[in-house]
Symmetry: C2
Subunit: 415 residues, 2 copies
């Protein structure tokens, strides 16, 4: 008997028929003797419907009130899934995020979980109930409803698995695991049986949208065993492992991620003195806008150019903040941006012990005539920004160059 | 400056356009210096949509989980209305029922309010906010979500007006006030400027569906000034008054209510001994089924027939309970029911001091050949049950017989 936290995403609960299907699957797990905490998303399309209603009222909806509206999507699903389980004769109880005291900070529409009270959950599990919790939502210290942002239901599931010390956190979705890259771009992409947390973190943050990055961070931090699998077909999915569990068979490169959801912003003619990065990015951070890549070129004649990327949705707001709050104070010449760019990253814990990955990547791109606009590296990934039109080509040639279509690309390292 | 509680029903907030219209109206009240608590229903059609989803999952939805699903309807409206007010530059904050601690009993889908904490509401009003509260919902002592049943948003509004000692509770709806009877049945029906609480209570409970009965009870109990008016057109609506405020101009009969939502059930051949009424109705009450009219005929040869009416929705359940839990124990012969009946009531505080109303009513019905199946009387109303097919005819002839189409029918009493 294991304690399992299972999360079912919007497609998995996209209709009343699908909800019944999920209930049957849960019933099987219960019959096997497992204790179950189920986290669900809003039914597919519901969040969009609610956002549309909100935008009909207010072009930029008040974020506190948007959370009030959006949180209803998951609330409908928990009630319906509980009914479907009752219909199978299974005791189930549903809870909203606030009801099980999922306490977050007050950053509406992108809140972070601070703590969860588990008394109620433990009591229900002990009583033999299947417990269903609304993903994506919580409440702040003042009792206001908050939501966790895109993919927040994954975070809810992992956080619950962490505080309950669950045996495994299973993320059911519409794909059957993590692939070396998006099979729609590279048909030869392979499903991975395992991937390390570090790699998954980079994959998620770079746009492989199977799991939300925060959920992976959480899982890594609290050592939650995380598995991604399909609610539509049987299979073992992809288990996300801790590196030390998995030393012998590390491929150099596990996957290639890409992302066209970012925009590049450049502050031109910035006076080149200490503290300037903080002066530029401080107001951006205060507005809760996440910054991804950051590049500061070496200055000449006392000024420099400072570039960074933000999510495309935040582009307009970031530009506004820079023009109003930053430019007047730091005496930079201008703020520019808006080119169509894409980011591509090769990722693998193996590259720590294997040199030359970056140069191989740059050579492959150069051979195809693809100009690199920004570069950033970490221990286990190398990212480049290129013109958006080259994205697919770049992903394909890199996938091939790093032998990701070969099941035995592991050997490349052991040589 | 007054403290007003305003409630807007489902049609009043039936679209984002309507919600914006309501926001403009609220803005005007605020500019006049009033403090405002706004209670809203789900957008028209939303509750039905949610019920349909639930019934697709489970023919008789689990009531705890149905409440979880249904409560989302009002939650969407509060967020949207708050956004609409923010868009007009007005500070507004929305709250679900549980958030403002509207504590109820645990009778899911028909819960009753036990208490409301007002700290948060007072603080927001003091800060100049318009406070928006989701109608129809609360939480029980265990923290589970509850709903108050049909028309529950009215009850929420009146309960808030009571605990906050508001100057007036204004129920905005799609009709412009209370009429002597339904104008669709009697075109000569007149809007009443005032009606007493006692009369309104009888009107509401008998199927004039402008206000939910519980809200009127609440209002009477806590001396809340209640006004029914239209959100679609200007006008003073109908003020519901306390009898003592209004002594001089009491008409004998204020209105005629009717209702075809009831079913009659008769337990046949009941042993005629003390306690039998309790033995029959006890299990019905335990199942939270409301009983309306009750008739027990005088027995002969040691048995009697015991008849009562319940809401048509509860008919099947009531019959089931009687057959399983009651018949075997009391040794009655049978349970029968199912005829198509309607109830018609003439209502007026004036009848207290004016004899002969009942006989006039029975004479008028007899002249039209309408057979009376059940009779029940109270101090201010006389109700009869007739075959459903005679309902419209009966209402029309009674409306005329009691001069309800005459503005000066008041004189009938002072003569």
């Amino acid at each position: 008997m294991a304690l399992l936290v299972q999360k079912y995403g919007g497609t998995s609960v996209g209709s009343t028929e699908r909800i019944k299907h999920v209930a049957h699957q849960i019933a099987q797990f219960q019959q096997q003797g497992h204790q179950l905490i189920i986290v669900v998303s809003a039914m597919k399309g519901e969040t969009s419907r609610l956002v549309t209603l909100a935008q009909e009222i207010q072009a930029r909806p008040n974020s506190r009130e948007l959370d009030v509206v959006l949180a209803t999507g998951e609330q409908v699903t928990i009630g319906l899934l509980a009914m479907a389980l009752h219909d199978l004769g299974i005791h189930a109880k549903s809870y909203t995020g606030p009801q099980v005291s999922i306490t977050t900070d007050s950053a509406h529409t992108k809140a972070r979980i601070l703590k969860i009270d588990t008394d109620r959950l433990h009591a229900d599990l002990a009583a033999g109930h299947v417990v269903i919790v609304a993903g994506f939502q919580g409440r702040d210290e003042a009792g206001d409803i908050t939501t966790l942002g895109r993919g927040g239901s994954d975070t809810t599931a992992v956080a619950l698995a962490a505080v309950l010390e669950a045996d495994e956190c299973q993320i059911y979705t519409d794909v059957d695991g993590i692939y070396t890259t998006d099979p729609r771009v590279v048909p030869e992409a392979r499903k991975l049986d395992t991937i390390t947390f570090e790699e998954m973190l980079e994959m998620a943050s770079l746009g492989s949208k199977v799991l939300q990055i925060r959920s992976v961070e959480f899982a890594g931090k609290y050592k939650v065993k995380l598995r991604v699998l399909s609610s539509f077909e049987a299979g073992e999915g992809t288990l996300i492992t801790f590196e030390e569990d998995n030393k012998m068979e590390q491929p150099i490169i596990s996957g290639i991620a890409f992302n066209r959801d970012e925009s590049k912003i450049t502050v031109v003619g910035v006076p080149d003195h200490p503290g300037i990065a903080y002066q530029i990015l401080g107001p951006i951070a205060e507005a809760s806008i996440d910054v991804d890549m950051i590049i500061q070129n070496i200055g000449h004649d006392g000024t420099t150019d400072f570039s960074f990327t933000v999510n495309r949705n935040e582009y307009t707001r970031a530009i506004e903040i820079l023009k109003k709050q930053v430019l007047p104070h730091i005496g930079a010449r201008d703020v520019i941006g808006g080119e169509k760019i894409a980011k591509i990253s090769v990722i693998g814990v193996g590259m720590r012990s294997y040199a030359g990955i970056a140069s191989r990547m740059f050579r492959v791109l150069a051979e195809e005539g693809i100009n690199i606009r920004m570069i950033s590296t970490s221990e286990i990934k190398i990212s480049v920004v290129v013109d958006e039109k080259y994205m697919e080509l770049a992903v394909r040639v890199l996938h091939k160059a790093f032998d990701l279509d070969q099941i035995n690309n592991v050997e490349a390292k052991t040589c």
